[in-house]
Symmetry: C2
């Protein structure tokens, strides 16, 4: 149709080249501006021993692994992921409250996964003693990738749903602010891709802190001990956490905006620091406070305990059980943690189950649209069929352990060899998931001061906070339910793992494209 409009040939619409190529001067300016901004604004982690051998009293910090540019992300799927987060929150709250449903899954899971079994045992122990708290808090994160097989419309596909220790909320707020700052001061060369409307805000820090505050206030409204010196939130943390600043920002937001104190203790430190009263009230006396101090704990926020590596002795399991039995509101309860099992995700991929928790047809449809095919690898007819797929067409699948926490995923052609290396009785510890085909885009990763440019893929996480009450009739009363910001984790396409904490990938933000 060339020449139709007044004789001028119509040029094909070209997508702008993004990110633009940098001159050496532009790159030098950009990296120094980015680095100072990140260091000044707490977009940091503790350095690895590859960077410094000696770090007295942890006095050194380094820029968290970040991307030089925000990564392009299609606008509609991004908005859809944010829009359905409250429905996702409610779905998982209802699952966590459904003991019978979880029990049915645990019958099989507990045979093959010792970690799951021990969590379930804690539930049974507390149930036998009598639960002292009917409120639960969830700080969730639903992770998606863009699935866009050639020529298709991009679509979000859920990768996993995290119900415990959903991390990187604070760093993701800071990285979005940093990318916006770099754009605002023109540290980026001019490109039509970046403008104010294409860089969405991300207030995950304050939203997540507000979630914790809502539990704290709900607990307080239940009536506290008159002899307590203070009411506070307990952060259960890992020893030597490198990603500590991601947690600290939540603490700073809690004290600044809600006047709520926090205390940080590891599973090893807790026994000496806590006392649980007959009625389940949990008191804490961190070692730096006077001996007769009684801090009442309103809310227990787990940034540890999500995987078996955090429980290195029986005392750690006892500690988890004692905390679970207390009257403090847990974020999450063991049942909520179990609701995040891959097995649950796999079962929900069956529309019948999903309808049970999401009777609303429209909500059901939107959530179901984000699901990818997931199969069990057990001895059910469906599982046996999936075993053949895994061995004969591994190129379309990823093998994932049932439990949460990332890591240890087996991709494509590595699946048959891996499965054969295990006794068949252990196969049902895994689920088989169709691989998502994300568009590969360009970006530069900045890690330990080094720049690596190349093709990358991003994984979008959407945070949600939900506070609910399990009524005596078994129903769920939702007290607060919010979408709470987002995260883009980006990794090189050569690596097939995604956890930033594990040392792969980095924190990114989105630039929305149509």
């Amino acid at each position: 149709m060339a020449g139709e409009q007044g004789g001028y040939p119509q040029l094909p619409i070209e997508s702008p080249i993004y990110p633009p190529t940098l001159t050496p001067e532009q790159q030098e300016h950009l990296i120094s501006t980015l680095t100072d901004y990140a260091l000044a604004h707490g977009l940091i982690v503790r350095p690895t021993s590859s960077l410094v051998e000696h770090n007295p009293n942890n006095a050194l910090a380094t820029v968290a692994p970040v991307t030089l540019w925000p990564s392009t992300f299609p606008r509609e799927p991004f908005l859809e992921a944010l829009a359905i987060q409250q429905t996702c929150n409610e779905l998982y709250a209802r699952i966590a409250a459904d003991e019978l449903f979880l029990e049915s899954l645990m019958l099989e899971l507990s045979k093959v996964d010792q970690f799951m079994k021990r969590l379930w045992d804690i539930h049974l122990y507390v149930k036998a003693k009598g639960y002292k708290q009917n409120m639960s808090l969830g700080l969730f994160r639903s992770d998606y990738m863009i699935n866009q097989p050639e020529g298709k419309i991009p679509k979000i596909q859920q990768v996993e749903f995290n119900t415990i220790s959903s991390s990187f909320g604070a760093l993701s707020t800071r990285v979005a602010e940093m990318h916006r700052f770099l754009w605002k001061i023109e540290a980026y060369p001019d490109t039509p891709v970046l403008d104010r409307a294409s860089l969405p805000p991300n207030n995950a820090i304050d939203e997540l802190a507000t979630g914790l505050a809502s539990a704290h206030k709900a607990y307080s409204a239940q009536g506290t001990h008159p002899d307590a010196d203070d009411l506070a939130v307990l952060f259960v943390v890992q020893e030597g956490e490198r990603n500590v600043f991601d947690q600290r920002w939540l603490e700073y937001s809690l004290i600044e905006h809600h006047d709520i104190r926090t205390y940080r203790l590891t599973l090893s430190e807790i026994p000496a620091a806590i006392t649980i009263k007959e009625d389940g009230t949990l008191f804490c006396r961190p070692a730096h406070l006077p001996e007769d101090t009684l801090i009442e704990i309103s809310t227990i926020y787990y940034r540890a305990g999500y995987g078996p590596d955090d429980y290195t002795n029986e005392e750690h399991w006892n500690t988890r059980a004692n905390l679970e039995a207390s009257r403090a509101i847990k974020c999450p309860t063991v049942l909520t943690q179990l609701a995040g099992a891959k097995k649950v995700q796999q079962v929900l991929a069956n529309p019948t189950y999903l309808s049970k928790f999401l009777p609303d047809k429209k909500a059901h449809e939107r959530i179901f649209n984000t699901f990818t095919s997931i199969f069990p690898l057990d001895t059910s007819p469906e599982g046996l069929k999936a075993r053949s797929l895994a061995l004969e067409h591994p190129e379309k699948y990823v093998l994932k352990p049932q439990r949460e926490g990332g890591g240890n995923n087996i991709y494509r052609y590595k699946i048959p060899g891996f499965l054969k290396s295990l006794p068949e009785s252990n196969w049902s510890k895994y689920i088989l998931m169709e691989i998502i085909e994300p568009p590969s885009i360009e970006n530069t990763v900045v890690r330990n001061g080094e720049l690596i440019r190349g093709p990358v893929v991003g994984e979008l996480g959407v945070y949600g906070t939900i506070l609910w009450e399990k009524r005596d009739d078994g129903d769920v009363a939702i007290r607060e339910n919010k979408q709470a910001g987002w995260l883009l984790r980006t990794k090189g396409t050569e690596s097939e793992e995604g956890g930033v904490a594990a040392g792969f990938g980095c924190v990114d933000s989105v630039v929305l494209v149509d």
Copy 2:
């Protein structure tokens, strides 16, 4: 009089022990809380090579040297120092505007101080060409110590007045916030010394940035080039500055609160980046921007060029002269820099001179009250008398170079030996100053993750911003004049030097005591 009140003996009033002694658990909690807060909030510096040998792209930062506690400081003298800052600002603006006065001092000074002479020569060069800008900006800092000889009432005594590169404004804001935070979350054990009213706020970051913004806006109101792409502030900085974050916070405040861009260039980088038009308009094209970019510079803010070490070749002097000749508002002009010479401070100690600049009797009295005895070491009758004092009673004096920038002070019994090592013709490069006797207090310094407890002394700095116009009739019209926050620099009493940048001392905040 014991026993008068109902038979109970009256106990003597004891001053509370401050800072309180810490248990090992308290100290461990305090140092880890302080460290993470400082790192997260940009209370940082680039690490020294003693901490890390390799720092690729400056990706590492460490906590700035700080005190564990805010240091006690008497309330009345603190408030007095803040209250007189606007008068100090005005005093130094009037001195900087008084060419005849400065010329009379330079006649002698330029004979003995090559650095001063070269600055004065720049003034003469620009004067001959014709000054293109009649506005000047001062970001000043007046430094005081408490003088409290045994049994006397504490009193502030001015140590020096900084008219160029007054640093640590940003870090002092952050350290005051940090000490307040540590108090608020009870990381400090209970002590009656600390309460909300005893920890004054300190908004030096935003006040100093607002000072820069006032010059920028005044320049803009003078009318800018229609062909400029942008109007911005130029920071003249040192290569490899470790205290860079102290400067970055001013840049972040300028862009966030005033939407004003900043560019950082060293004296070496400037020639290739700037163009000065016939009318004196200064344009800048930093290397990361496209070649045809025209950024018009409204304000030049010097964080370099304050001492001779910054001018390592003739090109640096040419650059300073070219910038001075431009139409941009300088912070400071060479005349303002010269007004900060110790020689000026010494001459002002003569009430006749002070009256010339401060005719108001009350203002005169308050300022004069802060002066300590200062003598020239030249061949005037007063100078000759001071030479005898220096050689015969050195224990009461400190010997200081005329020029600004700290360092190289000679204390007490080291004075005679030092003077004798110099040709007498060089003695007039120095002034002799009565030593101030500050109260020694206890504190703990945190440096590179190590804690050092011991007796310390503090030096209070009060920031001021002033924008003035030199009228054709020689008078000064003051456009803005503000007190702009404060700094407490603390050093161990064993060291007799005070500059934090030089590696001695650290950033502190005050806890006011009555």
